[in-house]
């Protein structure tokens, strides 16, 4: 996957930084989903309080943000792949559940887990890595090095997400 000829630093930055087009793609997708959410109505509930409705909507928006980010990134990154798989699963689409890639992933995961057990990790790092695994989607069975790389990309995408959402939110004060 990686080129040997490209110097290390350039390669790293190219691989780890999401570009501006990502911002655009994400904002487009996100806004589209926002429209849909606005159109949709919350399921009827006994309480039917506005706060509950707001919370329901907020959750939907949050999920929309994450999924639209994952879709914009595509399948280049492990975390985006994991999120996309989750999305497909929640949508209940049979076609995607039998995706070939998922089988490959499980095999890779098994191998990665075995390698992890073999290796001796420092204890203080271990707990931190464990927490990181829980935070980054799809990070449960990755070796520390790729986990850190995924975290870097994930952090960048999160920052993009926050920026876009903030600009949208600031545009509609009420």
């Amino acid at each position: 996957m990686r080129q040997k000829q490209i110097p290390n630093k350039a390669r790293d930055t190219a691989m780890k930084n999401p570009t501006n087009s990502l911002k655009r793609r994400f904002s487009l997708k996100f806004l589209k989903t926002l429209m849909r959410i606005r159109k949709s109505r919350p399921p009827p509930s006994p309480s039917a309080s506005s706060s509950w409705e707001i919370r329901w909507r907020a959750q939907k928006i949050k999920l929309a943000a994450y999924f639209s980010m994952a879709l914009s990134v595509g399948s280049k990154r492990t975390w985006s792949r994991a999120l996309t798989m989750k999305l497909r699963a929640t949508m209940g689409n049979r076609r995607w559940s039998s995706w070939k890639g998922s089988k490959k992933m499980t095999k890779r995961r098994i191998v990665a887990k075995k390698n992890m057990e073999k290796r001796h990790l420092e204890k203080d790092m271990n707990s931190g890595l464990q927490q990181l695994r829980q935070l980054v989607p799809g990070g449960e069975s990755m070796d520390p090095r790729s986990l850190l790389e995924e975290t870097a990309h994930f952090v960048r995408c999160l920052e993009t997400q926050v920026r876009v959402m903030r600009s949208i939110a600031e545009g509609f004060p009420c």
Binding site: N8, S27, V162, I168, F172
Partner: protein, 397 residues
Amino acid sequence: MNMGLPEMTALERQRAKLLEWQEEKVAALFQLQVHGGFYNEGGGEDNGVSTLYFCHGDDGFMGLREVSNQCNTIDPNARIEGWGQFGNIEVPCLGFGGESISRTASCPPAAVEPVSCGMLTEPSEKILQAPVRKDGFRKRKAERMKSTKDCKEEEREKNIKMYSNENDSKLSEQSNCNNGGDKKGSKNRNSTPKKTSESNSKDKSIVSDVQKTDYIHVRARRGQATDSHSLAERVRREKISERMKFLQDLVPGCNKVTGKAGMLDEIINYVRSLQRQVEFLSMKLATVSPRLDLNIDDLFSKEMIPAWSGGFPVMDMSAELTSTAYFQLHPMHQAAPSSDLEMDIVNPNTSMERWSSGFQSIYSLELEQCNPTASAANQSLQQYTGLTELTSMKMEI
């Protein structure tokens, strides 16, 4: 290497050759130094090379001599590459010899003398621990000690690839994995297929720099353990620390904390805070969004997309949008309990301004990517907002 002794293991072979070689090679080595034209850039190296191989003119190395003869026809400009090819073949008989010469390819010839002398004086395998590059040799020796089994397997695997000059690492593997890096590489290959495709970022040897190899060549540093396990550990740790450094640049405030654990905690806190921000913003959007009418959304979705991809016809769209927004909001605000007529008029205008400013913020966010049109679009947008302000002023009056 395949020709003479396919049955013997790497270790046996090299031990036998070593003993034979020790006895005969005093003069040959001095001859090597005489032909120190090898080290100089120039035409001498071919001679030096052939002499070198001539030194080890044992039976087992007939094949090598032939190879060296072949190599002599190699373009002298491709010196290093050519050397690299058979430098690794040479390794089984010399142990460090190939390595020393590869290393001294850019070193003065004097460096070789103590090496060779050291080599000659000790008639055991410790001969391989030349004083000059102790650590690397020791590593090789350690590697070799463990490598018998693996080398057997690898020999069988790599028999076919012996004469493939493209991949030198495979050649050297064929030569009974005396190159410690290859040993490491092969070991890595067995355990983690991913790693072997890593680049030579960790490679410190001169020869392997030029080679195209799939394996990680690591030199043991001075004063460090040369155990293959510890070497692998060190490589892994260095890679992890490289990633950590990158994360450190990414996460603000990570510079003050040093040490992996602290930095990891900072990173985790940052990720958590970002996720909390996303939640908070989504809540904010949820409170805001029910206020808006759906027609706006349709217009938004239909017309914004080509605008953003093109970047330019923002002006027309924003006009349409805000005008419709205005009309939509107006009845809404009429329904709101505001007694003052002026308020009814002013509110939509201010909200329309806010809309336009909101859109502007989004546009500016997106338009900064389409640089040639950004400035123009921004200007047009600003003009438009100026116009809206004018109209609102009129209406207030």
